[in-house]
Protein backbone atom coordinates (compact mmCIF):
# COMPACT_ATOMS: atom_id res chain seq x y z
CA UNK A 1 0.00 0.00 0.00
CA UNK A 2 2.80 2.38 0.94
CA UNK A 3 4.56 1.64 -2.34
CA UNK A 4 1.31 2.17 -4.26
CA UNK A 5 0.78 5.53 -2.53
CA UNK A 6 4.35 6.65 -3.28
CA UNK A 7 3.95 5.60 -6.92
CA UNK A 8 0.68 7.54 -7.26
CA UNK A 9 2.29 10.61 -5.63
CA UNK A 10 5.27 10.33 -8.00
CA UNK A 11 2.97 10.15 -11.04
CA UNK A 12 0.96 13.12 -9.76
CA UNK A 13 4.16 15.10 -9.26
CA UNK A 14 5.52 14.32 -12.74
CA UNK A 15 2.11 15.08 -14.28
CA UNK A 16 2.05 18.43 -12.50
CA UNK A 17 5.57 19.23 -13.71
CA UNK A 18 4.77 18.36 -17.35
CA UNK A 19 1.61 20.48 -17.19
CA UNK A 20 3.61 23.33 -15.65
CA UNK A 21 6.28 23.12 -18.36
CA UNK A 22 3.72 23.14 -21.18
CA UNK A 23 1.76 25.94 -19.47
CA UNK A 24 4.93 28.02 -19.09
CA UNK A 25 5.99 27.48 -22.72
CA UNK A 26 2.50 28.49 -23.86
CA UNK A 27 2.96 31.78 -22.00
CA UNK A 28 6.29 32.66 -23.68
CA UNK A 29 4.66 35.46 -25.75
CA UNK A 30 4.16 37.31 -22.44
CA UNK A 31 7.93 37.32 -21.82
CA UNK A 32 8.44 40.88 -23.10
CA UNK A 33 6.58 42.21 -20.04
CA UNK A 34 8.67 40.08 -17.68
CA UNK A 35 12.20 41.10 -18.74
CA UNK A 36 12.68 43.15 -15.59
CA UNK A 37 11.92 40.09 -13.40
CA UNK A 38 14.17 37.91 -15.59
CA UNK A 39 17.04 40.39 -15.10
CA UNK A 40 16.46 40.45 -11.31
CA UNK A 41 16.47 36.64 -11.06
CA UNK A 42 19.52 36.40 -13.33
CA UNK A 43 21.38 38.88 -11.15
CA UNK A 44 20.41 37.18 -7.88
CA UNK A 45 21.01 33.64 -9.10
CA UNK A 46 23.71 33.79 -11.72
CA UNK A 47 25.80 36.87 -10.93
CA UNK A 48 25.76 36.38 -7.18
CA UNK A 49 26.52 32.66 -7.58
CA UNK A 50 29.27 33.21 -10.16
CA UNK A 51 32.16 32.87 -7.70
CA UNK A 52 30.93 29.43 -6.59
CA UNK A 53 30.83 28.14 -10.18
CA UNK A 54 34.29 29.58 -10.87
CA UNK A 55 35.84 28.14 -7.71
CA UNK A 56 34.31 24.68 -8.14
CA UNK A 57 35.05 24.66 -11.91
CA UNK A 58 38.71 25.54 -11.24
CA UNK A 59 39.16 22.70 -8.81
CA UNK A 60 37.25 20.19 -10.96
CA UNK A 61 39.63 20.95 -13.86
CA UNK A 62 42.59 20.54 -11.51
CA UNK A 63 41.25 17.21 -10.17
CA UNK A 64 40.61 15.81 -13.67
CA UNK A 65 44.10 16.85 -14.78
CA UNK A 66 45.72 15.32 -11.71
CA UNK A 67 43.73 12.06 -11.73
CA UNK A 68 44.24 11.34 -15.42
CA UNK A 69 47.66 12.98 -15.62
CA UNK A 70 49.27 10.65 -13.09
CA UNK A 71 48.06 7.58 -15.01
CA UNK A 72 49.00 9.06 -18.40
CA UNK A 73 52.46 9.94 -17.09
CA UNK A 74 52.97 6.28 -16.17
CA UNK A 75 52.48 5.25 -19.80
CA UNK A 76 54.26 8.34 -21.18
CA UNK A 77 51.14 9.93 -22.67
CA UNK A 78 51.00 13.09 -20.59
CA UNK A 79 50.73 15.26 -23.74
CA UNK A 80 47.11 13.99 -23.89
CA UNK A 81 46.13 15.72 -20.61
CA UNK A 82 44.83 18.81 -22.42
CA UNK A 83 42.63 16.67 -24.66
CA UNK A 84 41.14 14.77 -21.75
CA UNK A 85 40.53 17.83 -19.54
CA UNK A 86 38.98 19.84 -22.39
CA UNK A 87 36.66 17.04 -23.48
CA UNK A 88 35.68 16.12 -19.89
CA UNK A 89 34.92 19.72 -19.02
CA UNK A 90 33.01 20.59 -22.20
CA UNK A 91 31.00 17.40 -22.54
CA UNK A 92 30.34 16.42 -18.99
CA UNK A 93 31.85 18.15 -15.99
CA UNK A 94 31.06 21.75 -16.99
CA UNK A 95 27.31 21.33 -17.53
CA UNK A 96 26.90 18.78 -14.75
CA UNK A 97 28.80 20.71 -12.08
CA UNK A 98 27.33 24.09 -13.08
CA UNK A 99 23.78 22.79 -13.05
CA UNK A 100 24.22 20.89 -9.81
CA UNK A 101 25.34 24.18 -8.25
CA UNK A 102 22.36 25.95 -9.87
CA UNK A 103 19.99 23.26 -8.51
CA UNK A 104 21.36 23.88 -5.03
CA UNK A 105 21.24 27.68 -5.33
CA UNK A 106 18.61 28.89 -7.83
CA UNK A 107 16.48 25.72 -7.69
CA UNK A 108 16.30 25.71 -3.90
CA UNK A 109 15.53 29.43 -3.75
CA UNK A 110 12.74 29.01 -6.33
CA UNK A 111 11.14 26.28 -4.19
CA UNK A 112 11.63 28.28 -0.98
CA UNK A 113 10.37 31.61 -2.38
CA UNK A 114 7.28 30.17 -4.07
CA UNK A 115 6.73 27.71 -1.20
CA UNK A 116 6.72 30.56 1.33
CA UNK A 117 4.18 32.35 -0.86
CA UNK A 118 2.05 29.18 -0.89
CA UNK A 119 2.00 28.73 2.88
CA UNK A 120 1.47 32.43 3.65
CA UNK A 121 -1.64 32.71 1.43
CA UNK A 122 0.17 34.84 -1.18
CA UNK A 123 -0.58 32.30 -3.93
CA UNK A 124 -4.21 32.16 -2.79
CA UNK A 125 -4.23 35.98 -2.96
CA UNK A 126 -2.95 35.85 -6.55
CA UNK A 127 -5.68 33.36 -7.42
CA UNK A 128 -8.35 35.50 -5.80
CA UNK A 129 -7.05 38.52 -7.72
CA UNK A 130 -7.22 36.43 -10.95
CA UNK A 131 -3.49 36.94 -11.49
CA UNK A 132 -1.79 34.24 -13.56
CA UNK A 133 0.87 32.86 -11.21
CA UNK A 134 2.67 30.97 -13.99
CA UNK A 135 3.20 34.22 -15.91
CA UNK A 136 4.21 36.12 -12.78
CA UNK A 137 6.36 33.53 -11.01
CA UNK A 138 7.34 30.58 -13.20
CA UNK A 139 7.95 32.14 -16.65
CA UNK A 140 10.69 34.60 -15.54
CA UNK A 141 12.41 31.94 -13.43
CA UNK A 142 12.42 29.39 -16.26
CA UNK A 143 13.82 31.89 -18.76
CA UNK A 144 16.42 33.27 -16.31
CA UNK A 145 17.88 29.87 -15.46
CA UNK A 146 17.79 28.71 -19.09
CA UNK A 147 19.94 31.75 -19.95
CA UNK A 148 22.15 31.43 -16.85
CA UNK A 149 22.97 27.72 -17.15
CA UNK A 150 24.77 27.76 -20.57
CA UNK A 151 26.55 31.06 -19.80
CA UNK A 152 27.87 29.77 -16.49
CA UNK A 153 28.77 26.47 -18.15
CA UNK A 154 31.05 28.28 -20.63
CA UNK A 155 32.80 29.97 -17.72
CA UNK A 156 33.02 26.70 -15.78
CA UNK A 157 34.49 24.93 -18.86
CA UNK A 158 37.02 27.71 -19.40
CA UNK A 159 38.22 27.98 -15.82
CA UNK A 160 38.31 24.17 -15.52
CA UNK A 161 40.59 23.93 -18.56
CA UNK A 162 42.70 26.72 -17.07
CA UNK A 163 42.89 24.87 -13.72
CA UNK A 164 43.88 21.68 -15.53
CA UNK A 165 46.60 23.60 -17.36
CA UNK A 166 47.96 24.90 -14.08
CA UNK A 167 48.22 21.37 -12.62
CA UNK A 168 49.64 19.98 -15.89
CA UNK A 169 52.41 22.55 -15.85
CA UNK A 170 53.17 22.78 -12.14
CA UNK A 171 52.78 19.17 -11.05
CA UNK A 172 53.04 17.02 -14.18
CA UNK A 173 55.62 19.16 -15.99
CA UNK A 174 53.71 19.39 -19.28
CA UNK A 175 54.38 22.64 -21.14
CA UNK A 176 51.40 24.96 -21.21
CA UNK A 177 51.84 25.36 -24.99
CA UNK A 178 51.38 21.62 -25.49
CA UNK A 179 48.50 21.47 -23.00
CA UNK A 180 46.49 24.30 -24.58
CA UNK A 181 47.24 23.16 -28.15
CA UNK A 182 45.89 19.68 -27.38
CA UNK A 183 42.88 21.17 -25.54
CA UNK A 184 41.97 23.41 -28.50
CA UNK A 185 42.56 20.59 -30.97
CA UNK A 186 40.26 18.28 -28.96
CA UNK A 187 37.39 20.75 -29.11
CA UNK A 188 37.79 21.46 -32.82
CA UNK A 189 35.59 18.56 -34.02
CA UNK A 190 32.73 20.43 -35.72
CA UNK A 191 29.10 19.47 -35.39
CA UNK A 192 26.94 18.36 -38.30
CA UNK A 193 24.28 20.97 -37.73
CA UNK A 194 26.11 24.02 -36.37
CA UNK A 195 29.48 25.60 -37.16
CA UNK A 196 30.39 25.15 -33.48
CA UNK A 197 32.62 22.52 -31.91
CA UNK A 198 30.30 19.59 -31.19
CA UNK A 199 31.56 18.99 -27.67
CA UNK A 200 30.96 22.61 -26.76
CA UNK A 201 27.43 22.89 -28.12
CA UNK A 202 26.51 19.46 -26.76
CA UNK A 203 27.53 20.64 -23.28
CA UNK A 204 25.65 23.92 -23.68
CA UNK A 205 22.55 22.12 -24.96
CA UNK A 206 22.74 19.83 -21.93
CA UNK A 207 22.99 22.72 -19.52
CA UNK A 208 20.01 24.46 -21.15
CA UNK A 209 17.91 21.31 -20.68
CA UNK A 210 19.16 20.94 -17.09
CA UNK A 211 18.21 24.59 -16.46
CA UNK A 212 14.64 23.93 -17.63
CA UNK A 213 14.45 20.83 -15.40
CA UNK A 214 15.71 22.78 -12.35
CA UNK A 215 13.20 25.60 -12.89
CA UNK A 216 10.20 23.31 -13.41
CA UNK A 217 11.08 21.02 -10.49
CA UNK A 218 11.87 23.97 -8.17
CA UNK A 219 8.76 25.97 -9.08
CA UNK A 220 6.41 22.99 -8.92
CA UNK A 221 7.79 21.98 -5.49
CA UNK A 222 7.09 25.54 -4.31
CA UNK A 223 3.61 25.72 -5.84
CA UNK A 224 2.63 22.42 -4.19
CA UNK A 225 4.08 23.31 -0.76
CA UNK A 226 1.75 23.22 2.22
CA UNK A 227 2.01 23.05 5.99
CA UNK A 228 3.96 26.12 7.14
CA UNK A 229 7.74 26.35 7.54
CA UNK A 230 8.02 22.56 7.66
CA UNK A 231 6.30 22.33 4.27
CA UNK A 232 8.66 24.92 2.77
CA UNK A 233 11.66 22.95 4.09
CA UNK A 234 10.24 19.75 2.60
CA UNK A 235 9.61 21.45 -0.77
CA UNK A 236 13.14 22.89 -0.89
CA UNK A 237 14.71 19.55 -0.03
CA UNK A 238 12.60 17.75 -2.64
CA UNK A 239 13.45 20.39 -5.28
CA UNK A 240 17.22 19.97 -4.88
CA UNK A 241 17.06 16.17 -4.60
CA UNK A 242 14.74 15.73 -7.59
CA UNK A 243 16.65 18.25 -9.73
CA UNK A 244 19.92 16.40 -9.20
CA UNK A 245 18.27 13.05 -10.01
CA UNK A 246 16.65 14.56 -13.13
CA UNK A 247 19.97 16.11 -14.22
CA UNK A 248 21.77 12.76 -13.97
CA UNK A 249 19.04 10.80 -15.76
CA UNK A 250 18.66 13.44 -18.50
CA UNK A 251 22.45 13.60 -18.81
CA UNK A 252 22.60 9.93 -19.79
CA UNK A 253 19.84 10.21 -22.37
CA UNK A 254 21.19 13.41 -23.96
CA UNK A 255 24.69 11.90 -24.13
CA UNK A 256 23.25 8.76 -25.73
CA UNK A 257 21.27 10.86 -28.20
CA UNK A 258 24.21 13.06 -29.22
CA UNK A 259 27.07 10.59 -29.20
CA UNK A 260 25.64 7.23 -30.22
CA UNK A 261 27.35 5.89 -33.32
Amino acid sequence: MAFQKTFVELCNGIGFQIELLLGTLARLPDLRRRMHSVADILYQGAVQGLHVVLLVGLFIGMIVALQTGIELQRIGQQDQIGTIVAISMAREMGPFITCTILAATMGSSMAAEIGTMAVSDELAALEVLSIDRIKLLVLPRLVAITIAAPLLTILCDSIGIFGGGFVAQAQLHVSSQLYYDSAVEALRDPAHLFPLPKDLYAGLFKSGVFGILIAIIGCSAGLRASGGALGVGKATRAAVRDSIIAIIVANYFITWMLYQQ
Partner: protein, 252 residues
Protein backbone atom coordinates in the same frame (compact mmCIF):
# COMPACT_ATOMS: atom_id res chain seq x y z
CA UNK B 1 -26.13 50.16 9.08
CA UNK B 2 -28.84 49.28 6.61
CA UNK B 3 -32.14 48.29 8.25
CA UNK B 4 -33.92 47.74 4.94
CA UNK B 5 -31.62 45.00 3.62
CA UNK B 6 -34.25 42.25 4.04
CA UNK B 7 -36.03 43.57 0.95
CA UNK B 8 -32.94 43.50 -1.24
CA UNK B 9 -31.86 40.74 -3.61
CA UNK B 10 -29.70 37.88 -2.39
CA UNK B 11 -26.04 38.16 -3.43
CA UNK B 12 -24.53 35.16 -1.62
CA UNK B 13 -26.46 32.00 -0.82
CA UNK B 14 -25.24 28.82 0.93
CA UNK B 15 -27.58 25.83 0.52
CA UNK B 16 -26.94 22.83 2.76
CA UNK B 17 -23.15 23.03 2.27
CA UNK B 18 -21.02 20.14 3.56
CA UNK B 19 -17.24 20.17 3.56
CA UNK B 20 -14.75 17.74 5.10
CA UNK B 21 -10.97 17.70 5.27
CA UNK B 22 -10.02 14.04 5.73
CA UNK B 23 -12.05 12.74 8.65
CA UNK B 24 -12.79 16.25 9.95
CA UNK B 25 -16.28 17.52 9.05
CA UNK B 26 -15.96 21.30 8.97
CA UNK B 27 -19.24 22.38 7.37
CA UNK B 28 -22.29 20.25 8.18
CA UNK B 29 -25.25 21.46 6.17
CA UNK B 30 -24.65 25.21 6.39
CA UNK B 31 -27.34 27.44 4.88
CA UNK B 32 -27.57 31.23 4.92
CA UNK B 33 -28.02 34.24 2.64
CA UNK B 34 -26.40 37.65 2.32
CA UNK B 35 -28.36 40.46 0.66
CA UNK B 36 -27.02 43.35 -1.40
CA UNK B 37 -25.41 46.12 0.59
CA UNK B 38 -25.52 44.10 3.78
CA UNK B 39 -22.62 43.36 6.12
CA UNK B 40 -22.85 39.87 7.57
CA UNK B 41 -20.53 38.91 10.42
CA UNK B 42 -19.74 35.22 10.81
CA UNK B 43 -18.88 34.40 14.40
CA UNK B 44 -18.04 31.20 16.20
CA UNK B 45 -15.40 29.25 18.05
CA UNK B 46 -12.07 28.47 16.34
CA UNK B 47 -12.21 25.47 14.03
CA UNK B 48 -15.92 25.81 13.19
CA UNK B 49 -15.17 26.64 9.57
CA UNK B 50 -15.50 30.43 9.52
CA UNK B 51 -12.60 30.96 7.12
CA UNK B 52 -13.73 27.93 5.11
CA UNK B 53 -17.02 29.76 4.50
CA UNK B 54 -15.17 32.71 2.90
CA UNK B 55 -12.98 30.43 0.79
CA UNK B 56 -16.12 28.81 -0.61
CA UNK B 57 -17.56 32.20 -1.55
CA UNK B 58 -14.50 33.12 -3.63
CA UNK B 59 -14.07 29.65 -5.13
CA UNK B 60 -10.82 28.68 -3.39
CA UNK B 61 -12.67 25.64 -2.01
CA UNK B 62 -15.49 23.55 -3.47
CA UNK B 63 -18.24 22.06 -1.31
CA UNK B 64 -18.46 18.25 -0.99
CA UNK B 65 -22.22 18.63 -1.35
CA UNK B 66 -24.72 21.49 -1.38
CA UNK B 67 -24.30 24.72 -3.31
CA UNK B 68 -22.66 28.11 -2.90
CA UNK B 69 -24.21 30.76 -5.14
CA UNK B 70 -22.78 34.22 -5.71
CA UNK B 71 -24.69 36.71 -7.88
CA UNK B 72 -26.95 33.84 -9.01
CA UNK B 73 -24.14 31.57 -10.24
CA UNK B 74 -23.06 28.39 -8.53
CA UNK B 75 -19.36 29.11 -7.86
CA UNK B 76 -18.13 25.49 -8.06
CA UNK B 77 -19.77 25.02 -11.49
CA UNK B 78 -18.17 28.07 -13.13
CA UNK B 79 -15.58 27.67 -15.88
CA UNK B 80 -12.17 29.23 -15.21
CA UNK B 81 -12.90 32.43 -17.18
CA UNK B 82 -16.30 32.94 -15.56
CA UNK B 83 -14.80 32.37 -12.12
CA UNK B 84 -12.08 34.96 -12.89
CA UNK B 85 -14.75 37.42 -13.99
CA UNK B 86 -16.73 36.80 -10.79
CA UNK B 87 -13.62 37.14 -8.64
CA UNK B 88 -12.92 40.54 -10.18
CA UNK B 89 -16.21 41.66 -8.67
CA UNK B 90 -15.01 40.50 -5.22
CA UNK B 91 -12.30 41.65 -2.84
CA UNK B 92 -10.73 39.41 -0.21
CA UNK B 93 -8.79 40.60 2.82
CA UNK B 94 -6.61 37.75 4.07
CA UNK B 95 -5.84 37.29 7.75
CA UNK B 96 -2.20 38.39 7.45
CA UNK B 97 -2.79 40.62 4.45
CA UNK B 98 -1.06 38.10 2.08
CA UNK B 99 1.00 40.87 0.47
CA UNK B 100 3.54 39.78 -2.15
CA UNK B 101 6.69 40.18 -0.09
CA UNK B 102 9.03 41.25 -2.92
CA UNK B 103 6.78 44.07 -4.12
CA UNK B 104 6.42 47.47 -2.45
CA UNK B 105 3.09 48.55 -0.96
CA UNK B 106 2.18 50.56 -4.07
CA UNK B 107 3.20 47.77 -6.44
CA UNK B 108 1.16 45.28 -4.41
CA UNK B 109 -1.95 47.41 -4.75
CA UNK B 110 -1.24 48.10 -8.44
CA UNK B 111 -0.62 44.42 -9.27
CA UNK B 112 -4.20 43.43 -10.25
CA UNK B 113 -4.46 46.42 -12.60
CA UNK B 114 -1.02 45.86 -14.15
CA UNK B 115 -1.62 42.14 -14.68
CA UNK B 116 -5.24 42.10 -15.76
CA UNK B 117 -5.92 45.41 -17.50
CA UNK B 118 -4.29 47.55 -20.16
CA UNK B 119 -4.75 50.70 -18.07
CA UNK B 120 -1.95 53.24 -18.64
CA UNK B 121 0.57 53.62 -15.81
CA UNK B 122 -0.41 57.19 -14.78
CA UNK B 123 -4.03 56.06 -14.36
CA UNK B 124 -2.94 53.04 -12.33
CA UNK B 125 -0.83 55.28 -10.14
CA UNK B 126 -3.70 57.68 -9.54
CA UNK B 127 -6.07 54.84 -8.68
CA UNK B 128 -3.60 53.22 -6.27
CA UNK B 129 -3.02 56.56 -4.53
CA UNK B 130 -6.79 56.99 -4.23
CA UNK B 131 -7.17 53.56 -2.56
CA UNK B 132 -4.16 54.13 -0.28
CA UNK B 133 -5.78 57.40 0.81
CA UNK B 134 -9.09 55.57 1.38
CA UNK B 135 -7.38 53.17 3.81
CA UNK B 136 -5.58 56.15 5.44
CA UNK B 137 -2.00 55.37 4.35
CA UNK B 138 -1.47 57.88 1.51
CA UNK B 139 2.36 57.98 1.80
CA UNK B 140 3.10 54.26 2.04
CA UNK B 141 3.81 53.52 -1.66
CA UNK B 142 7.54 52.80 -1.36
CA UNK B 143 7.49 50.79 1.86
CA UNK B 144 8.15 47.05 1.67
CA UNK B 145 5.79 44.57 3.40
CA UNK B 146 8.60 43.51 5.76
CA UNK B 147 8.94 47.11 6.99
CA UNK B 148 5.32 47.68 8.00
CA UNK B 149 3.21 46.70 11.02
CA UNK B 150 0.40 44.12 11.09
CA UNK B 151 -2.29 46.81 11.08
CA UNK B 152 -0.71 48.54 8.10
CA UNK B 153 -0.44 45.23 6.23
CA UNK B 154 -4.20 44.82 6.64
CA UNK B 155 -4.78 48.32 5.32
CA UNK B 156 -2.62 47.58 2.27
CA UNK B 157 -4.42 44.24 1.84
CA UNK B 158 -7.73 46.09 1.94
CA UNK B 159 -6.53 48.71 -0.57
CA UNK B 160 -5.50 45.86 -2.90
CA UNK B 161 -8.85 44.12 -2.38
CA UNK B 162 -10.65 47.36 -3.27
CA UNK B 163 -8.52 48.32 -6.30
CA UNK B 164 -10.91 46.70 -8.80
CA UNK B 165 -13.91 48.45 -7.19
CA UNK B 166 -15.52 45.19 -6.06
CA UNK B 167 -19.20 44.82 -5.21
CA UNK B 168 -18.52 42.17 -2.55
CA UNK B 169 -15.74 42.37 0.06
CA UNK B 170 -14.76 39.40 2.24
CA UNK B 171 -12.75 39.92 5.43
CA UNK B 172 -10.95 37.00 7.11
CA UNK B 173 -10.46 37.89 10.80
CA UNK B 174 -9.54 41.54 10.23
CA UNK B 175 -8.70 41.99 13.95
CA UNK B 176 -6.44 38.93 14.28
CA UNK B 177 -3.07 39.78 15.81
CA UNK B 178 -3.87 43.47 16.34
CA UNK B 179 -3.97 45.45 19.59
CA UNK B 180 -7.36 46.95 20.63
CA UNK B 181 -6.53 50.45 19.37
CA UNK B 182 -5.45 49.33 15.89
CA UNK B 183 -8.35 46.85 15.80
CA UNK B 184 -10.74 49.71 16.45
CA UNK B 185 -9.31 51.78 13.60
CA UNK B 186 -9.53 48.79 11.23
CA UNK B 187 -13.16 48.21 12.28
CA UNK B 188 -13.99 51.86 11.61
CA UNK B 189 -12.30 51.55 8.25
CA UNK B 190 -14.41 48.49 7.36
CA UNK B 191 -17.54 50.41 8.39
CA UNK B 192 -16.53 53.46 6.34
CA UNK B 193 -15.78 51.32 3.26
CA UNK B 194 -19.21 49.75 3.69
CA UNK B 195 -20.88 53.14 3.88
CA UNK B 196 -18.89 54.97 1.21
CA UNK B 197 -18.67 52.22 -1.42
CA UNK B 198 -22.03 50.50 -0.69
CA UNK B 199 -20.48 47.06 -0.98
CA UNK B 200 -21.83 43.73 0.28
CA UNK B 201 -19.53 42.38 2.98
CA UNK B 202 -18.91 39.19 4.89
CA UNK B 203 -16.67 39.58 7.94
CA UNK B 204 -15.35 36.52 9.71
CA UNK B 205 -14.51 37.61 13.24
CA UNK B 206 -15.01 36.55 16.83
CA UNK B 207 -14.39 39.89 18.54
CA UNK B 208 -17.60 41.42 19.82
CA UNK B 209 -16.35 44.98 19.40
CA UNK B 210 -15.66 44.44 15.70
CA UNK B 211 -19.06 42.89 15.11
CA UNK B 212 -20.87 45.67 16.96
CA UNK B 213 -19.08 48.25 14.80
CA UNK B 214 -19.51 46.72 11.36
CA UNK B 215 -22.31 44.12 11.19
CA UNK B 216 -25.91 44.37 10.03
CA UNK B 217 -26.46 40.70 10.87
CA UNK B 218 -24.56 38.08 12.82
CA UNK B 219 -24.36 34.40 11.96
CA UNK B 220 -23.14 32.16 14.78
CA UNK B 221 -21.54 28.92 13.59
CA UNK B 222 -21.44 25.84 15.77
CA UNK B 223 -20.12 22.49 14.49
CA UNK B 224 -20.37 23.62 10.89
CA UNK B 225 -24.00 24.80 11.06
CA UNK B 226 -25.75 28.12 11.59
CA UNK B 227 -26.89 28.15 15.21
CA UNK B 228 -28.13 31.77 15.27
CA UNK B 229 -28.73 34.36 12.53
CA UNK B 230 -29.83 37.68 14.03
CA UNK B 231 -29.23 41.45 13.87
CA UNK B 232 -26.44 42.50 16.30
CA UNK B 233 -28.73 43.99 19.01
CA UNK B 234 -30.90 40.88 19.23
CA UNK B 235 -27.88 38.64 18.85
CA UNK B 236 -26.02 40.08 21.81
CA UNK B 237 -29.26 40.20 23.86
CA UNK B 238 -30.00 36.54 23.09
CA UNK B 239 -29.98 34.18 26.07
CA UNK B 240 -29.10 31.12 23.97
CA UNK B 241 -26.99 29.02 26.37
CA UNK B 242 -24.27 28.20 23.80
CA UNK B 243 -23.90 31.86 22.82
CA UNK B 244 -23.78 32.98 26.45
CA UNK B 245 -21.13 30.35 27.12
CA UNK B 246 -19.09 31.51 24.09
CA UNK B 247 -19.36 35.22 24.86
CA UNK B 248 -18.58 34.58 28.51
CA UNK B 249 -15.07 33.49 27.58
CA UNK B 250 -14.61 36.07 24.81
CA UNK B 251 -11.85 38.59 25.65
CA UNK B 252 -14.05 41.50 24.54
Amino acid sequence: MSPDTTERETVIRFRDVHKSFGSQHVLNGLSFEVRRGECLAVMGPSGTGKSVVLRHVIGLLKPDSGAVEVEGSEVSQLARKELSALRRRMGFLFQEGALINWLSVGDNVALPLRENTSMPEPEIRAKVLEKLALVRIPDAWDKMPSEISGGMKKRVGLARALITDPEIVLYDEPNAGLDPEISHSINELIRDVQRELHVTSVVVEHRVRCIKTVADRVLFLEQGRALLDLPPKEFFASDHPRLRQFLGVDPD
